[in-house]
Point group: C2
Amino acid sequence: MNAKELLLILREIKDVSFSSVDNSGNPKCRIIDIMLIEDERLYFLTARGKDFYRELMENNHVAVTALTKNFESIRLEGKANKVGDNKYYLDKIFECNPAMNEVYPGDSRNILDVFCIDKGIIEYFDLSKHPIYRQTLSFGGEKIKDKGYFINETCINCKKCFNLCPQSAIYELNGIMNIKNENCLHCGLCYENCPVKAVERW
Amino acid sequence: MNAKELLLILREIKDVSFSSVDNSGNPKCRIIDIMLIEDERLYFLTARGKDFYRELMENNHVAVTALTKNFESIRLEGKANKVGDNKYYLDKIFECNPAMNEVYPGDSRNILDVFCIDKGIIEYFDLSKHPIYRQTLSFGGEKIKDKGYFINETCINCKKCFNLCPQSAIYELNGIMNIKNENCLHCGLCYENCPVKAVERW
C-alpha cells in the first residue's frame, strides 16, 4: 500500500476523527468529513465560529484516525493550512459532496474555510492479522521518524524477549535478537524484561 | 438519551478514537477499544511501552470520538486514571473481550495497564437530522460548560441572524432573537453578521 492509496481510503471512509489541541493544551476531537483528495493533498473544512477553527488557528497540528470496515486502522499526522482560494475549493467540495447543501444551504457555505494537509505521516495498522501488521508511510515529502523499539549490540542472545513477545516479532540475526517492526505492537514487554537493557526506544 | 446510554453505545461501537497530547503539545490519536462500562465508568487499556501510555502519564486529559452506524457522532472528554487493582480489571476485560487473547496471549497481558474515565462530558451530534441536533450530557458528576453562542439584550430585532442561520435555529422570544442551542451548528454566521454585536460566545 502506498500513501496515496491510504489517503483515498480515508476519503472513502469519509467520516473520520480529527484531533487538535485547545489553548489549555488539552486534546479535542470531533468527526470531520474528508472532502477531497487531490494528488497527495487532503482537504477538509470547518466553520469560522467553531472551536475547531480557533484551535487550528493557534496550533495547526492535526491527528486523524479512521477505521476501515475490516477493522484496519489508519492514522495520519500533519499540519492543516487554509487554502489560498477558498471560494474555488468550497464550490468544488460542495459539488463533490452534495449533502453539504443540506447542512449549509445557499450562501451560508461562506462561513466555511477550507483547509489542506499537504504533507504528513500516515500509518496503517491491522490488529486482526496474526501477527499484527503495521506500515508507516509519508506523503508530500514528510520525513518518517523511526518509532517503537530496537535491540542494540549489547544483546547477550538470552532469548528472553524472543520468548515473551506476544506477536513473535523477534528473530535472531547474526547471533543477536532483532525486532521485526512491521509486526511489533510497541507494547514494551521486551524493553521491560531485557536483563542487559539492550532493548531501546527509537 | 442519558449519559449512561451514550456510554453503552460507545461500548457497542467498541473501536473508537482516543486523542491525547504529546510532550511537544501536539495532538495524537489512535483507535482504542472500549473494554468495559460499569455504571458511568469507562475502561480501556494500553501497553506500558506505547507512546499513548507516556502521553497519559504526562497529561491524562483524553478526548474520544465515535460514529454510530446511523452517522450520529459521540464525543467524550474526561481524565483517564489508572485503576487501583490492575490484575482484577485486566482479567475481567479479557473475559469480556476474548479476542484480546489473540493479541496478548498468556501472561503477556501483564504489559497492559487499565485506565478508567469516571467523569466527563459526553456530546451527541446528529448532522443527518434537519435541523441538526446536539445534546450535551455529563457523567460522574462533571459540570457542563455552556458552548456555542447566545444573543444578548442589545439585540435590535433586525432578524438578520434569523434569515442567515443555515439550520433555522434562531427564533424570536419577547421581542429579541434567541438561539436554540440544540439545533445550532456553532458555525458563527450570526456572530459574524450581527450589526450590533449582540451575538456572543458562551
